[in-house]
Symmetry: C2
Subunit: 452 residues, 2 copies
């Protein structure tokens, strides 16, 4: 094996890997803002499937993937593990670089790994429709795909900026039978309130989350889909890392560095948690784990660890996590999927305790890395994924003149076929590198909800 490792479909994992039992710390409960008490399973299951409520705090190391979910996974899984030999050569590095290529899924990213089980659980529990939000469009496309294949309806609220920047995302969702609306919209009371305050609001993941939640709360037949952040979503994504571990058996390598980009944390969790498990259990204590985020939304590198809402309007439970403040509105960068003020609680705590190393990058250096990747490895990745590529290149360049054996794995979370306007801006030299908006963030952090 010198380039690509394949698994046959029977090797799609039968279980997801649950990191909770391996963590060296306890997770703080979600808090119900209505009574400031820990959220009960019943309260959680208002818009989420009950099954995911159980997964949020399960102590089982492995959680079975329903056969109906594996059956849809089979359309594109196992995703290829590819050795980036051309990139290695171009960089002149002695490091071996591998990537899991999640762009092969029909919606084009890792997102269906959790969209499919979420739609499946909702349907099993009697729902016929789903709502969700989407930033860059990857998550909304995944829910449209999953509900389309399962014969459910779906309404996707898409951050207005991305909706305008990527006009074909909504057509893609429509192809699978879903409706896609720009958020803030007039479809929900929350959306109307935002528009009343600021008719020119360009939206963000968080405004869209508020609308999708509001819609689901007001329609009994409707369940809500969440694209990232919570523990059960990170769990579903672990198929990526688990497959990689199997695929590495076909090689003579094993990763000592694992890298992923981070918006809410799910693709990063997906590729890294099975390897972090090995690190935490002491099997591979020297494993290096790196997350890459945008300078313009630098949650892990500049945020604080506190209870906060996951959406801008305070509709979610309070979650203890690293945050820039739920009303922080990140600049209009092209990596829409990374414009989230907060990070998954588990990832937040692993960053706090030093298990993982967060890094932040500017847009232009990120697109430069993505262009290098396209011209060496062929694939044109999403702007989000490009952050991971930048991290990989930085890391690999440290091993230009050493004989030390180094194996880097990263998650190529999605393709950039709907993001070419962003590449065009980069080539035209019109991409802005936003400075870290420190005062804005400080203001937002001052408005964090008080939790005793």
């Amino acid at each position: 094996m010198d380039k690509k490792a394949n698994l046959i479909e029977n090797d799609i994992p039968k279980n997801w890997y649950n990191i909770l039992p391996d963590l060296p710390f306890e997770m703080e409960p979600m808090i119900n803002p209505a009574n400031m008490k820990p959220l009960t399973d019943e309260e959680f299951a208002g818009v989420f499937p009950k099954e995911m409520g159980k997964q949020e705090h399960s102590r089982k190391q492995y959680i079975p993937i329903p056969e109906a979910v594996r059956d849809i996974y089979r359309i594109w899984r196992p995703s290829p593990l590819i050795r980036a030999t051309r990139l290695e050569k171009y960089l002149g590095t002695n490091a071996h670089i591998y990537f899991k290529w999640e762009g092969v899924s029909p919606p084009g990213s890792h997102k269906p790994n959790t969209a499919v089980p979420q739609a499946y659980y909702h349907q099993k529990e009697g729902k016929t429709r789903m709502t969700t939000e989407t930033g860059a469009g990857q998550w909304g496309s995944a829910v449209a795909f999953a509900t389309g294949l399962l014969g459910m309806d779906a309404t996707i609220y898409m951050a207005k900026l991305s909706f305008t920047q990527k006009p074909y995302r909504k057509v893609l969702m429509r192809t699978w039978g879903a409706e896609c609306l720009p958020s803030p919209s007039n479809n929900t009371s929350v959306g109307r309130a935002i528009l009343k305050k600021d008719p020119n609001n360009i939206g963000s993941l968080t405004t869209a989350i508020s609308e999708a939640l509001d819609d689901a709360m007001h329609h009994e037949e409707t369940g809500y889909g969440i694209g990232s952040l919570i523990t059960s979503v990170c769990l579903h994504q672990t198929v990526i890392g688990l497959e990689a571990q199997e695929q590495f058996k076909q090689t003579e390598d094993y990763p000592d560095t694992v890298i992923g980009c981070i918006g809410g944390g799910s693709n990063f969790a997906g590729v890294s948690f099975p390897f972090i498990g090995e690190k935490l259990r002491g099997e591979r204590p020297d494993m290096k784990i790196i997350t890459c985020e945008p300078m313009s939304c630098p949650t892990l590198t500049k945020g604080i660890f506190a209870y906060d809402y996951g959406d801008s309007e305070g509709l979610t439970p309070l979650i203890k996590m690293t945050t820039l403040g739920h009303d922080f509105m990140p600049p209009a960068i092209h990596a829409g999927g990374l414009r989230l003020h907060c990070k998954a609680p588990i990832v937040s705590k692993l960053a706090l305790n030093g298990t993982i190393e967060p890094r932040a990058y500017h847009q232009n250096e990120v697109f430069e890395a993505a262009t290098t990747f396209a011209r060496t490895e062929g694939f044109v990745v999403a702007p989000e994924t490009a952050h991971a590529v930048k991290g990989v290149i930085d890391e690999a360049l440290k091993f230009k003149n050493t004989k030390e054996k180094k194996v880097i794995l990263f998650n190529a979370s999605g393709h950039g076929h709907f993001d070419l306007a962003a590449y065009e801006s980069y080539f035209d030299g019109t991409l802005v590198d936003y400075e870290y908006p420190f005062e804005l963030v400080q203001e937002c952090l001052c408005r964090l909800p008080k939790v005793e």
Copy 2:
């Protein structure tokens, strides 16, 4: 194996399959229009690589794939063979439906299967730049990808209609380092002449071919890339069918029907030639082979077999093939890659002698089929590929109430990520089903070049 068959990379074919020795007829030579004599190898090699000149009339059954080409193939090959179980269930058919999914290549179609060897041969023979034409953008993207990875320059002439309909195709080509111009352009004498005659000319594959040839003929360091039609290009595409034959060994099935859409004929040739070989050699005499073309450009169903040019301006050699006349301008349908007046000579003759069955479809029924495919199998295919899907569904519906074993294989030649404007028109009900423009075609056929 019930869903997806994988080969590991070492199973990428080492040879292409050459159908010439298996054909029950002789192929007519290309004619040099300057002297009306058969084209010599030297004349052919003016803009094409010498190596491809040899491949045009080789009698060897198998032709080795250069290791450098296989090395790039490994990025996405072997492409998956997927059983369309959900589509089967939706149709209620007893037929087993399989597809080769060529959309996994970085440019998103089967086209790099030949773009890579063409760029490789050109570079080996001293060229540092390539030109080519592109209709829908799939072929241009493939040449941009191949030249980008090999460090060559490239200029791609894109039919103006598609250039406008698909603004992101040019950015994709630019990402790999290539320049993409709308054709007719002011960059070549041929383009300027077309624009002088008709400043609003929307272009077609054939105007773009003329410009790309003109450019290559006037620049010594430049080789020309051809996306379809000629024998060596069909040869390169046979990796598709050869892989499928290997992959079927992992199943309990073997195709008795092979289906592909047809523009120039290369993706159809790629999937079908290895199976047609079995049919011609008498190993599987009942094998049914079907090509699907648009009603608006119905070459195989309505054209005539005669010597004609491959481009609109008469720059190519004269080729004996089925044609609608080289100056036939097909209506502006969305399947830009199928808007070609002529078909590959081998495919033309196999249709003439009844080995393959041509069918023609209207746009709306084709997009209906593609939408069904997206909502069952997940993948959103190109409008070209959608023609094959329509053919598959028609065929599969014949086996709703039989117990007869039927196995259909088709080539899913590319994804539709850059064709969503076409899907939108379909959903909005604004797609026009063009009637077969018989008088226009008759006029064009009257202007066929005279060859003794």
